[in-house]
């Protein structure tokens, strides 16, 4: 399996760096399926009853754990395997992610076949979750090394794929289930098998295409700045030393707060829009609204990450915090004046910044901690996502339920949540304000035994 080694992935003459983003997209578009897993929930409650749920069929609440376990292990595996991904190279990581992702689907198909839910928890939740974590971080540092002139745009393109994966998976899964479903059988297991095989093929193609830049490679016409900008280091910080810096934890909180503010409304957008505008937004229109939000979530990842290359990472997050604060405070007003257009516009911009927060953070880490361990540090940072995945929905759901129980009209039940989200962004603003350059005592020195693999050194530093 030596073809998986980093040394076998060094680009030869004539290789175009523009082949690396599609390689990354091959992986991210596949693992982005996780956002569309809910299309299986309802069919999986009727595996025995077929037309309606039988007493022994699985409940929606039990099925909801599949996605939660997968996202939990995304955070855990990206943190645990980050250094291995960084040192083993992108091809090995992508190949491993492909094996785990396809394996997760095949094991889950078996779980559906024998109608045993814990097998699906292990298959899609645990093994698939590991694939999510490894696959998510696998192309990050490679892209940053290929695009030292546009790191935000490069990682934005890949992470955009994670947001876009659901667009492919959702209609494909519905179509496949329709194909395999008969009057006496729900075709979930067969759909899992086909998806597993198709995703494996796609991800393997990505792992074959991907290359790391050779020693000293720099893009045409690009000269690294002679002096570092105030917040862009030319030094590297060892992965575990990054945890000792206040900058890591400030960025951890910035990501956590930005994602908390977005993830809560993303999950509840359909119900929220219908309850805030009863009679104006129907269930059908609400599903259209959710689709539009997904598009802005994906587009925001590319737009904001690319913008950060021009205005700087810190300023980009200032925009997220300030604009987000204004928009969250405006949402209750749009409800009170009954303006659906203003409501939709507010949430589309908010959700674009939610995606933008994910996509811009690898470049922010690269600016702070250098290129050598940015993938591994990014992996550790993704634990903020797991935390936000709990905070966001809890804030929205429980506060709404509390308000409704205390007699607040449903149309206004989300108002206090919006102000709390705005408050979270104020905290995020001050965290971002506190970010300064990393103290030089954390910089790796020449000959540091922990990072003596020359392949891991940033291209420019090897010139």
């Amino acid at each position: 399996m030596s073809f998986l080694d980093r040394s076998h992935t060094i680009a030869g003459p004539g290789f175009s760096r523009w082949l690396v983003p599609p390689a990354a997209l091959c992986v991210h578009l596949c693992i982005g399926q996780a956002y569309a897993f809910s299309v299986f929930n309802l069919p999986m409650t009727k595996l025995l009853g077929i037309s309606k749920s039988a007493p022994d069929d699985w409940q929606l609440t039990d099925l909801g754990w599949i996605f939660s376990i997968a996202i939990f292990f995304l955070g855990v595996s990206s943190a645990v395997f980050g250094r291995w991904v960084e040192e083993g190279g992108p091809r090995r990581a992508m190949f491993t992610a492909a094996l785990c992702w396809a394996g997760g689907f095949l094991i889950s198909a078996f779980g559906v076949y024998i109608h045993t839910l814990w097998v699906i928890y292990v298959g899609y939740g645990f093994i698939g979750g590991i694939a999510l974590g490894i696959g998510y971080i696998s192309p990050v540092s490679t892209l940053i090394k290929w695009f030292p002139d546009r790191p935000g745009m490069a990682t934005g393109m890949a992470i955009m794929g994670f947001g876009g994966g659901a667009f492919i998976a959702s209609p494909l899964s519905v179509w496949l289930m329709g194909l395999f479903t008969t009057p006496t059988h729900v075709g979930v297991a067969e759909t899992f098998i086909v998806l597993g095989v198709v995703y494996f093929f796609f991800m393997i193609v990505g792992s074959i295409i991907v290359r790391v830049p050779p020693d000293g490679w720099l893009p045409a016409g690009y000269t690294p700045p002679a002096e570092s900008a105030k917040l862009i280091t030319r030094h590297d910080v060892f992965v575990y030393d990054a945890l000792k810096t206040p900058q890591f934890w400030l960025i951890w909180w910035i990501l956590c707060l930005n994602v908390t503010a977005g993830i809560g409304v993303l999950g509840q957008a359909s119900a929220m829009s219908q309850e805030m505008f009863p009679g104006h937004i129907t269930a059908v229109a609400a599903s259209g609204f959710v689709g539009l939000m997904s598009l802005f979530n994906m587009g925001g990842r590319f737009f904001w990450a690319s913008t950060s290359d021009y205005i700087g990472r810190k300023n980009t997050y200032f925009v997220f915090m300030v604009l987000g604060f204004i928009l969250y405070c405006t949402v209750p007003y749009t409800g009170s004046i009954g303006s659906v257009a203003a409501f939709v516009l507010c949430f589309l911009v908010i959700i674009s910044m939610y995606g933008g927060g994910f996509a811009t953070v690898p470049a922010y880490l690269k600016d702070m901690f250098g290129t050598r361990y940015v993938g591994a540090i990014h992996g550790l940072l993704l634990t903020a996502w797991s935390m936000a995945g709990i905070f966001g929905p809890v804030l929205v759901n429980y506060i709404r339920a509390y308000n409704v129980a205390h007699g607040v009209p449903k149309a206004q039940a989300y108002n206090s949540t919006m102000y709390i989200m705005a408050g979270l962004l104020v905290i995020g603003f001050f965290c971002n304000l506190a970010v300064t350059a990393v103290n030089s005592r954390f910089h790796m020195k020449e000959g540091d035994a922990r990072g003596n693999d020359p392949a891991l050194r940033p291209a420019g530093a090897r010139a």
């Binding site: 004539g14 175009s16 209609p171 690009y222 059908v284 259209g288």
Partner: protein, 44 residues
Amino acid sequence: MNAANQQGLPAETVVKLVLAWAFVGIPLLVGVGFTLYNAMKLFQ
């Protein structure tokens, strides 16, 4: 190695670029098309 070789790409590389981007771009565009079609319900 300088990336001057990024300019004037050989035909083989151009073909690879087109194939690679089509490989990921076509499914994504189809998916986005489906989503946009459904999103139009918001304006009906």
